[in-house]
């Protein structure tokens, strides 16, 4: 009887004092589970706070649980023998779901920190950035659970429900005795700190360069396309101005009129000085200006080049008058005023329109001045009997009859 009581007492003492040896655990190796329980037991001795863990694992439909506490691996907190020993408890709880290899669902996990009556919370554990849901569902959930459970005493001290535990450096001889050497060098701190930022900066700079190249190439391509598709003006380029001798206000198109044939090309090279007229001894009119005469062909409106050139040419302005009928040999026609040459039949010596350029008065010469108009008017008065070489003796409607023209 006494022996039986002794054995029962020893068993009870082992249950209370020493952590129970771990049996097969779904999460931990038995030695790791025992080591974790021993760590919690040391914390309990210094803080008088009970710590534990419970991890429920759904292993492809088979439910298993990994539990432990400062009382031992496999000993849950809610089944402690002496509730008075745990006035404050802090437990790490997690749920892990493992799916089969052929399943489309991924492994999942979640966790929380439960403190009674008060103590650290799940957010306190999250602030340490030790574990995550993805880490628990990953390859090494036991490492994450070990770290989280080991941090519970630190969180309890920070929350004020327990005293903080202090650590002191061990003598170097201990490591030397155990032949301890650091391994697995972690790598450069610089690349770990700035590697991400350097990568992003390289992407931004490269993106800016590619965008700039694309902008330059697209601008060149659009410029080439605009040049190739530029429409031509109908009827050819429009000259800047029409020579004076081609313009006749009486026959100029009014309002919407059909376009006439293009004028001859303009040759903007006026002579330095207008050709001088040799004195002929004739009297020049001093005042009167005569209205411009109409072209010989009434149908050729706005198209002074429609027919052969006649002795009569349209004046450029109000001061223009009828061109003279005769021309003295050697006399140079005005370069700026209306043509003063007679018809080829009447005036053999007269210059042809096309030869006007040879005489120094090119077609499309600068606009006539008043002086030239007066000179042309004086020459026109002398050509009262001139008839157009076109053979038509018709006078343009509305034009004064030379016979009745007032004397100036």
């Amino acid at each position: 009887m006494r022996r039986l009581a002794t054995v029962a007492g020893a068993v009870l003492a082992l249950l209370f004092v020493a952590p129970a040896a771990a049996s097969a655990d779904v999460l931990f190796d038995p030695a790791d589970a025992d080591e974790l329980a021993a760590t919690l037991a040391e914390a309990y001795e210094g803080q008088r706070v009970c710590y534990g863990w419970r991890v429920d694992v759904d292993n492809v439909g088979m439910r298993e649980t990994s539990v432990g506490s400062n009382f031992g691996a496999g000993q849950p907190l809610d089944e402690t023998v002496d509730p008075e020993a745990c006035r404050t408890t802090v437990e790490f709880q997690a749920t892990i779901t493992w799916t089969s290899e052929s399943s489309e669902s991924e492994d999942s996990a979640s966790y929380q920190v439960l403190s009674l009556p008060t103590g650290p919370t799940t957010s306190d554990l999250d602030s340490l950035e030790l574990i995550s849901d993805d880490g628990l569902a990953g390859e090494n959930p036991d490492v994450d659970v070990y770290k989280a459970v080991s941090a519970l005493p630190l969180l309890a001290a920070d929350a004020g429900v327990a005293d903080a535990l202090e650590a002191s450096p061990a003598p170097e001889t201990e490591a030397e005795a155990a032949n301890g050497q650091p391994t697995n060098s972690p790598g450069s701190d610089f690349w770990r700190r700035a590697g991400g930022a350097i990568m992003w900066s390289a992407l931004l700079i490269l993106g800016g360069g590619v965008f700039a190249l694309w902008a330059i190439k697209s601008s060149r391509g659009s410029a080439r396309r605009r040049a190739a598709s530029a429409p031509e003006e109908p009827g050819g380029p429009t000259p800047e101005f029409v020579p004076a001798e081609w313009y006749d206000p009486n026959t100029a198109p009014q309002g919407n009129v059909r376009p006439g044939p293009p004028p001859p090309p303009y040759q903007p090279s006026p002579p330095a000085t207008p050709p001088t007229r040799k004195p002929t001894g004739r009297r020049r009119p001093t005042t009167e200006r005569r209205p411009p005469e109409t072209p010989t062909d009434p149908s050729a409106t706005g198209s002074p080049a429609a027919g052969p050139r006649t002795g009569r040419s349209p004046a450029a302005g109000p001061g223009a008058t009828k061109p003279p009928t005769t021309e003295q040999p050697g006399t140079e026609p005005s370069a700026t005023g209306p043509r003063s040459t007679a018809s080829p039949a009447a005036e053999p010596g007269a210059a042809e329109p096309g030869e006007r350029a040879e005489s120094g008065a090119p077609a499309g010469a600068p606009k006539p001045t008043d002086r030239d108009a007066q000179a042309a008017g004086a020459a026109g008065e002398r050509d009262e009997d001139q008839t157009p070489p076109g053979g038509s003796a018709e006078k343009p409607a509305g034009k004064p009859d030379p016979e009745t023209r007032p004397e100036g």
Binding site: A24, L27, V57, E166, Q181, G187, D189, R193
Partner: protein, 139 residues
């Protein structure tokens, strides 16, 4: 969009990239420099330096981790241990405040051998680290 506008956008992208690059290269520093600038030095022995802080260990650990991210972290009920390329930093309680230890890799491993053995290096001891998962360790 006009060509000039496109070129301005391209220049803006490149400018932002240059700014980010400069910040990455010039910003930040080593953990030793950060500890020297932030905490009060208590003692030193070669490359082993001890600092103190009035803040609790959790706050000090979070501040150091945010300023100079470590390569690895180990926790124990007695403190936080951070590993860098050339240094090991330990943060432990000191009354109401904290004490910060920084050592080179070799001395740091030796000083904190019971807490990091089997995880950051070799050696036989009470803390052998996590050996691996149990019977059912997922897919």
């Amino acid at each position: 969009m006009r060509t000039r506008t496109k070129l301005f956008l391209a220049g803006g992208l490149g400018g932002v990239g240059l700014i980010v690059l400069l910040v990455a290269l010039l910003g930040g520093g080593s953990v030793r420099g950060h500890l020297a600038d932030t905490y009060q030095r208590v003692s030193s022995d070669g490359d082993s330096i001890v600092y103190t802080s009035n803040s609790r260990p959790k706050a000090v650990y979070e501040e150091i981790r945010a300023a100079v991210p470590p390569a690895d972290v180990q926790v124990d009920p007695q403190g936080y241990f951070m590993r860098y390329s050339d240094d090991i930093v330990a943060v432990t309680a000191n009354g109401a405040g904290s004490r910060i230890y920084i050592d080179d890799e070799r001395r740091g491993y030796a000083h904190w051998f019971p807490f990091v053995v089997g995880v950051w290096g070799t050696g036989s001891g009470s803390g052998e680290g996590i050996r691996g998962g149990g019977p059912g360790a997922g897919k």
